[in-house]
Symmetry: C2
Subunit: 104 residues, 2 copies
């Protein structure tokens, strides 16, 4: 396979990654709503630890466990930001989840 | 759906993410080998810009374009680290891609 072939394969994987990351974000937003209704804190360190442990456990390489951990720390951060933006949107009806900014 | 149901769905998505991220990393390693054979630089800013633009272009939300960009910047960073570790391994036969460390 040529460099161009491998890049096309990466582009295909990236399309799936964007889709899955957004699907994950939708789930996180639903969780955010449930947490808000139940007056639970947005930040739940035990669950975050579990997510990171699961990711490392499922890692067959070639990415190192440290790389997988860094990637999932970012994924969790962005999920939390999306939850925050959505809550803000619910409370003042102004912020736009697609264009909002994040503090994490 | 309950909080536990949504979390199970996230766990399922995360398993797919770990798989895709590793598949992507394998492609990047193949690209690294081809670059090395052709004496091309590891860092190719035009291609990185293209990857980020594609990711934003494919983003249908709810993640913001800025969030997608941050996530893919991390993904690209880790791919480059894996390429570096693999090159190091090829040259001295010691480093282990699964357990190696990264400087990016």
């Amino acid at each position: 396979m040529s460099l161009a072939d491998w890049r096309r394969r990466i582009d295909e994987i990236d399309r799936k990654l964007v889709e899955l990351l957004n699907e994950r974000s939708k789930c996180a937003l639903e969780i955010g709503k449930l947490k808000q209704q139940a007056n639970l804190p947005l930040y739940q360190p035990d669950r975050e630890r579990e997510v990171l442990e699961n990711a490392e456990h499922n890692n067959g390489g070639p990415l190192t466990d440290a790389a997988i951990r860094r990637l999932f720390e970012r994924i969790i951060d962005e999920a939390r930001s999306a939850e925050r933006i959505a809550m803000h949107k619910d409370s003042d009806g102004k912020a736009d989840a697609k264009g909002g900014s994040s503090d994490s």
